[in-house]
């Protein structure tokens, strides 16, 4: 049997292909993005046909995959945890109607968070939706659980969630590779409108059936927690862990010399918690510690016990359960000798910033310079980093920048004609994801603001997945491109410009023209598409860049390029007390030359050579 070192997400993607999944849909989001990419790669490698797609958003992805499962084929949808918020409408109902072909929902959580707007717990969402959820403790186990999820989903005719977290998704481990199931099912949708189109009257009956299904599942041996027994050193005491917190607990117990000395349970299915387990924990143990991320989902199902955990205050209710936190919890729980606290970092790291040459930097700088008293709603993507340039005031969730711009307008405009200039920014992928209804609404409701669509022709933050404008599918095929400018026009917008933000003079003029439009009698929402490809998309092209920029002795050390423009290619030369440009990082965009108040930055002959 072959083993290969895979990222947790790659292991999940491999599992999806091995299980004969026919349709897989996703929208990119850290830490889940690599799952669909792995499905595409393994489908190609094994010759297993599968329809894959980067849907415009998670709700659409969920609905597409769900319908495929109605035909009896296996389907999967993957997303990050907040993507489940977007998909929650179809998600919540899907347990009631159930499925035919196995249906896997992968929702990747991000305790910390490292790269998310919340650290919500998808297992809790699964409990809310009444959908079983599997909680892997390693990349290897995540792959095994894909197979279990599909099997349970088909036997019980219910969607099943797999909930990896960042430390599973982005961990690497050697994983066995199996032959994909080659059972070629043909699609067959059997009509049953009382089920698939259940009207309110039919829902009650479906709900009863769902409750009964979950009770049967909770009694299923396959979902029961497993025990690593202790030797009696700690009688009537147990530790219950799930997910990567369980894995870290095993390592910490090993370090403390306590392996095999205390009863340690792994909960692999946090909801529904095994009935036998819930009933046994009650009489068997006086001291129970639960270690799980991030909500007390297991704790709540053991709620009539005195549990040491998040709700008792022993385990932190927020943040990632790192090994050092688990260690200090175990020390308190077991009454061990406290250790000296570990040393901490003496210095915070640098903050993230836009890449050198990013078109968004040019656009944000121009927006802030042109409208110093403006209000700048924005949202989620690389462009959130415009906050460093003082050009992003809000970031809530996907597409919220446009709706919030309208909200700000309506609130201020009530007070009189002197409303502030509002400049919303959104990325091209996010625009397709959820900006379109927000824009339509803004026009329909008579809002007045400037919308700058930052079009770098990709979904950058998550690894350059294609958008509908590119005419390219997830598996590299071609498709009908859908142009942003056409969608904007169709939304009723009467002011539209499209230009490259590198041309700072023209871009600034367009912003001023847009503002005049907003405030004119016939005005409304003004849209500017700031179009420049992401500099990371083709790094080898950067190496052939003809020119770089350099700082001359005219530099007055005003630090504007460093502090206001914040280009990472610009640093400080302590010896001559001027700014200095790193030739290896500089992409030659020339924006710094434009903004320097004394024209002390010029193109350098010879470029990077």
């Amino acid at each position: 049997m072959t083993r290969r070192v895979l990222l947790g997400n790659e292991a999940i993607g491999r599992g999806i292909v091995e299980c004969g999944c026919a349709v897989a849909a996703s929208y990119p989001g850290t830490p889940a993005s690599e799952i669909l990419e792995a499905v595409v790669a393994f489908s190609r490698e094994t010759g297993q046909p599968i329809h894959t797609e980067w849907s415009v958003n998670e709700k659409v992805a969920y609905e597409v995959a769900l319908a495929a499962s109605y035909t009896g084929k296996r389907a999967a949808v993957s997303m990050k945890q907040v993507g489940l918020n977007v998909a929650s409408d179809p998600f919540m109902r899907s347990a009631y109607l159930g499925v035919k072909g196995g249906f896997l929902v992968v929702s990747a959580d991000d305790p910390g968070p490292h790269s998310s707007q919340t650290e919500q717990d998808s297992r809790f969402y699964a409990m809310f939706a009444k959908i079983p959820v599997l909680d892997p403790c390693s990349p290897r186990e995540a792959k095994e659980m894909v197979a279990l999820a599909f099997a349970l989903s088909e036997e019980y005719e219910i969607p099943v969630m797999l909930r990896p977290t960042t430390r599973i998704c982005h961990a690497r481990q050697a994983v066995p590779l199996l032959e994909p199931l080659r059972d070629r099912r043909t699609a067959r949708f059997e009509k049953d409108p009382t089920r698939w189109a259940a009207t309110p009257g039919a829902v009650l009956h479906l709900h009863r059936k769902l409750t009964e299904k979950l009770a049967r599942l909770a009694a299923d041996d396959r979902i029961a927690p497993t025990l690593v027994p202790g030797d009696g050193t700690y009688p009537r005491t147990c530790v219950i862990g799930s997910g990567v917190a369980f894995a870290h607990t095993r390592d910490v117990l090993q370090e403390l010399g306590l392996s095999g000395k205390i009863d340690l349970y792994q909960v692999r299915v946090p909801y529904p918690l095994g009935t036998a387990f819930v009933n046994e924990v009650r009489p068997a143990y006086e001291n129970v510690l639960v270690l799980e991320e991030t909500y007390p989902v297991i704790e709540m199902q053991l709620s009539d016990r005195m549990i040491a955990g998040k709700r008792s205050g022993l385990v932190p209710a927020e943040g990632e359960l790192t090994p050092e936190i688990i260690r200090s919890v175990l020390v308190k729980f077991l009454g061990l000798t406290p250790m000296t606290p570990a040393s901490v970092s003496t210095q915070p790291g640098a903050r993230p910033t836009l890449c050198a040459g990013c078109g968004h930097r040019a656009a944000f700088y121009a927006i802030r310079e042109t409208f110093p008293r403006g209000i700048f709603p924005s949202d989620i993507g690389c462009y959130t980093l415009g906050v460093n340039l003082g050009a992003v005031d809000t970031c809530h969730c996907m597409g919220a920048g446009i709706s919030q711009a309208a909200g700000f307008y309506h609130a201020y405009a009530q007070d009189g004609a002197d409303f502030p200039t509002i400049v919303a920014t959104i990325g091209d992928s996010t625009f397709f994801h959820s900006g379109i209804p927000a824009l339509l609404n803004a026009v329909a409701q008579g809002a007045r603001f400037i919308l700058v669509i930052l079009d770098n022709r990709t979904t950058a933050m998550t690894g350059h997945q294609p958008t509908p404008a590119l005419g390219r599918t997830a598996s590299g095929g071609s498709s009908q491109p859908i142009l942003i400018r056409d969608v904007v026009r169709a939304s009723g917008v009467s002011f539209l410009r499209e230009l490259d933000p590198y041309d700072m003079e023209a871009f600034t003029a367009a912003l001023k023209e847009a503002e005049r439009h907003c405030r004119s009698v016939e005005g409304g929402v003004a849209v500017i598409i700031a179009s420049h490809p992401c500099v990371l998309q083709d790094k080898s092209a950067l190496d052939e860049t003809a020119r770089t920029l350099c700082v001359t002795e005219d530099c007055t050390a005003c630090r504007l390029c460093l502090d206001d423009l914040e280009c990472p290619a610009i640093g400080w030369d302590d010896e001559v007390d001027t700014a200095r440009i790193d030739r290896l990082s500089c992409t030659g965009c020339g924006v710094c030359a434009y903004v320097c108040p004394v024209q002390a930055i010029i193109p350098e002959a010879g470029g990077r050579a």
Partner: protein, 153 residues
């Protein structure tokens, strides 16, 4: 771009060890300090606690005060630093540039650490791991940078 985490994991697995790693993706990668961990042996979880790492490979000397506390007091550090002082520091960026692959300073640093005997295997093991995961187009450049690091040790 080949990450050290990937090379180290492949090398460990090829040498018959269990291995589990962690790395940082997404927003944290836009210029912020990126921390990855590699655990070779019968470990279950990928994270390393402060004061537990046996080896630290620092591609940017500026990150020493940020992540240095993960090292054990007797741990070994290898740093990519322009002024080489002592065994710990090597100008991996210069080595990589001179070898023709300026963006492979990480592989030069790895070669140096392997050549110094600071890792769980010798240079041959890591060179083989680089071969197994590098495309034909980049193989020459990657090996050149790695070997430059080994030679400098």
């Amino acid at each position: 771009m080949l990450t050290l985490t990937r090379v180290l994991a492949e090398a460990a697995a090829a040498a018959g060890h269990e291995v589990i790693t962690s790395e940082t993706h997404g927003m944290a990668q836009r210029g912020a300090a990126v921390l990855s961990t590699v655990k070779v042996g019968p470990f279950h979880g990928p994270l390393i606690s402060p004061g537990e790492a046996e080896v630290g490979l620092f591609l940017h000397a500026a990150n020493l005060p940020i992540h240095g506390h993960y090292l054990r007091p007797d741990g070994t550090v290898f740093v990519n630093a322009p002024e080489a002082h002592g065994d710990a520091a090597v100008d991996a960026t210069a080595l990589a540039s001179a070898s023709g692959s300026p963006r492979s300073a990480n592989l030069a640093l790895l070669g140096y650490a392997a050549g110094k005997g600071g890792l769980f295997a010798g240079p041959a093991c890591f060179e083989e791991a680089i071969r197994s995961v590098t495309s034909a187009r980049h193989l020459g450049g990657n090996l050149a940078a790695f070997r430059a690091g080994v030679e400098a040790s």
